[in-house]
């Protein structure tokens, strides 16, 4: 097995039709903890970002408790995301075919994936989303700490807090945009969401979108059979 083509738990489960395990239970739970904390952050953050969303503080028990909870959601996200990061980062390293994939990204949208190079477990779009999220979460956490009035209000200068909260607002908008792309891409590419719910994808899905990954799994499968 070439190092860096598959993750623990990736395997072909059935031959006819082919069913492939893409995410084991631990990774799925990890993903959903991350997703839920991110959603809670986005909702509570929006409530504090723009007055037209302030009513959303009601979901968290009012303004005071939203203000109190938001940074703790951030702590959960940071930990959960980087547990996920530890599992995924290696296969998200940039490869030669990714550059070609980006050059052909129009063909992806026009259903001409046959014109693209074969892709491992993640395509360039997924990799960009992955690294953007990692970077944005680090930025959001650092600037969030500076803005965390209750514990760190006196730790930094007011000028620094102003810059931090501006960067925090800008980065959170970036994060929401990345999440919209991430969620929509999973929805538009039918057969993807089940990878994070049931943990499996069909062979046809893997053939179509991540053929290099499927080949690697097939090699393992044959070696094991």
């Amino acid at each position: 097995m070439p190092i860096g083509d598959v993750q623990p738990g990736d395997a072909i489960l059935a031959d006819k039709p082919v069913e492939v395990s893409r995410y084991r239970g631990f990774t799925r739970i990890n993903h959903w903890v991350t997703a839920i904390s991110l959603l809670a952050l986005a909702i509570s953050g929006l409530a504090l970002f723009h007055p037209s969303f302030f009513a959303l503080t009601g979901l968290f028990g009012g303004g005071q408790s939203t203000r109190m909870l938001h940074p703790w959601f951030g702590v959960v996200l940071l930990i959960s995301f980087f547990v996920l990061f530890a599992q995924l980062w290696r296969l998200n390293l940039w490869r030669r075919e990714d550059t070609a994939w980006v050059a052909h990204s129009k063909d992806v949208l026009e259903h001409h994936e046959d014109k693209l190079p074969e892709i491992g477990k993640y395509n360039a779009g997924q990799k960009v989303a992955f690294w953007s999220m990692a970077a944005l979460i680090l930025v959001l956490f650092a600037t969030g700490l500076v803005s965390w009035q209750h514990y760190f209000g006196a730790s930094t200068s007011i000028e620094m807090q102003r810059v931090a909260i501006l960067v925090h607002a800008a980065a959170s908008i970036g994060m929401v945009l990345v999440v919209i792309v991430h969620v929509y891409a999973a929805f538009w590419t039918r057969g993807t969401i089940r990878a994070m719910t049931r943990g499996t994808v069909t062979g046809g899905w893997a053939w179509r979108h991540h053929r290099k990954w499927l080949r690697a799994l097939a090699r393992d499968h044959q070696a094991g059979a």
């Binding site: 031959d15 970002f49 723009h50 074969e118 209000g153 501006l166 908008i173 945009l177 062979g203």
Partner: protein, 326 residues
């Protein structure tokens, strides 16, 4: 010697209706501008004449007393400024500065009563995300409405004078109210009432400016050529003003800012980021929904499924098209 310029008789013992309230609010945090009030109150101001201050701290004590604050007993840090900083339980603070005038080589003891300046363009109110937690009345007073405060500390970031403090006890923001509860029944602020030298006077903003002019003329006649009024226009003027004997260098008075204004960073955060950010997020969400409704979804075909079966079954087929550079 000027005569006291405003006198406030003791209040009647009967309860009086409040003159400050919903009806006279002109600005409200995180809310659309309220309808213009039916009648506009006269703009008020507190004038602090630094040159007349003897540093007795009667104002500070009166403030603590009237607002029923209970600051913890502090420690002596070797300065008259005590406590060392404003706090959620200390709305006003005498700041003492020992300064050697480079022109005369004279030692000067500068005493400035620090506290909320009640800006016409309040940075705290601009930054506040909680609807109605900060309001401005038509007489110019900027007030924190604590039941709406969420304790986020944005007002601290918005303020150009570093005034609001967040209580660690109840997580709400506190600062000088200009004794809005006293003003509401026709009384002057507690600090002004307590000041034994009339270094603190209170009245309409116009009257205070006129009074300041006489004080400045007096100071100039006694050799303070740079005496002047501190009513910084960068924040639209303030409703707490100072007469300074060295008005050309306010920063010598415990870092009173030379030209205070709401930070550009705060403007960007509350302006461009807010609107551009909402637009970007809204467009992305709408774009995704529209694409989802009208564009053809990407699906694996039966052929894809058959190819997958073949690939798993047949090692030859598996290796045929494999990328060389895997």
């Amino acid at each position: 010697m000027t005569t006291p310029i405003a006198t406030f008789p003791n209040p009647p013992v009967q309860p009086a209706p409040s003159r400050l309230g919903e009806a006279v609010i002109v600005k409200r945090s995180a809310s659309a501008p309220p309808p213009p009030p039916a009648q506009k109150l006269e703009e008020v101001a507190k004038l602090v004449d630094v040159s007349k201050c003897i540093g007795c701290k009667a104002c500070q004590s009166a403030c603590v007393e009237w607002n029923d604050l209970q600051p913890a007993v502090g420690v002596n840090v070797g300065a008259y400024t005590n406590p060392p900083d404003l706090g959620a339980d200390m709305f006003t603070l005498m700041r003492f500065t020992e300064w050697v005038n480079p022109k005369t080589n004279d030692f000067e003891w500068l005493i400035r009563k620090d506290g909320c300046m009640h800006c016409s363009d309040p940075g705290c109110l601009k930054a506040c995300p909680a609807p109605g937690a900060i309001v401005q009345y038509s007489n110019g007073v900027v007030d924190f409405i604590h039941e709406n405060c969420i304790g986020c500390g944005y007002c601290v970031k918005g303020c150009p004078f570093n005034i609001p403090r967040i209580s660690q006890r109840d997580n709400k923001a506190y600062k000088c109210t200009l004794c809005s509860d006293r003003l509401a029944v026709g009384q002057e602020p507690a600090c002004a009432k307590a000041c034994p030298t009339q270094a603190i006077v209170f009245g309409s903003k116009e009257a205070m400016k006129t009074h300041a002019d006489t004080r400045i003329a007096d100071l100039k006649s006694r050799g303070y050529a740079d005496a002047g009024l501190y009513d910084p226009q960068g924040v639209g003027g303030t409703h707490v003003m100072y007469v300074l004997h060295h008005a050309d260098q306010p920063q010598i008075y415990a870092n009173l800012p030379q030209d205070p204004k709401i930070s550009t960073v705060v403007d960007l955060w509350k302006g461009l980021t807010k609107y551009a950010g909402l637009a970007a997020m809204g467009l992305a969400a709408a774009g995704a929904v529209l694409h989802g409704l009208f564009a053809k979804a990407d699906r694996a075909s039966d052929e894809d499924e058959q190819n997958a079966v073949r690939l798993v079954e047949d090692p030859k087929f598996r290796e045929e098209g494999a990328n060389a550079d895997r």
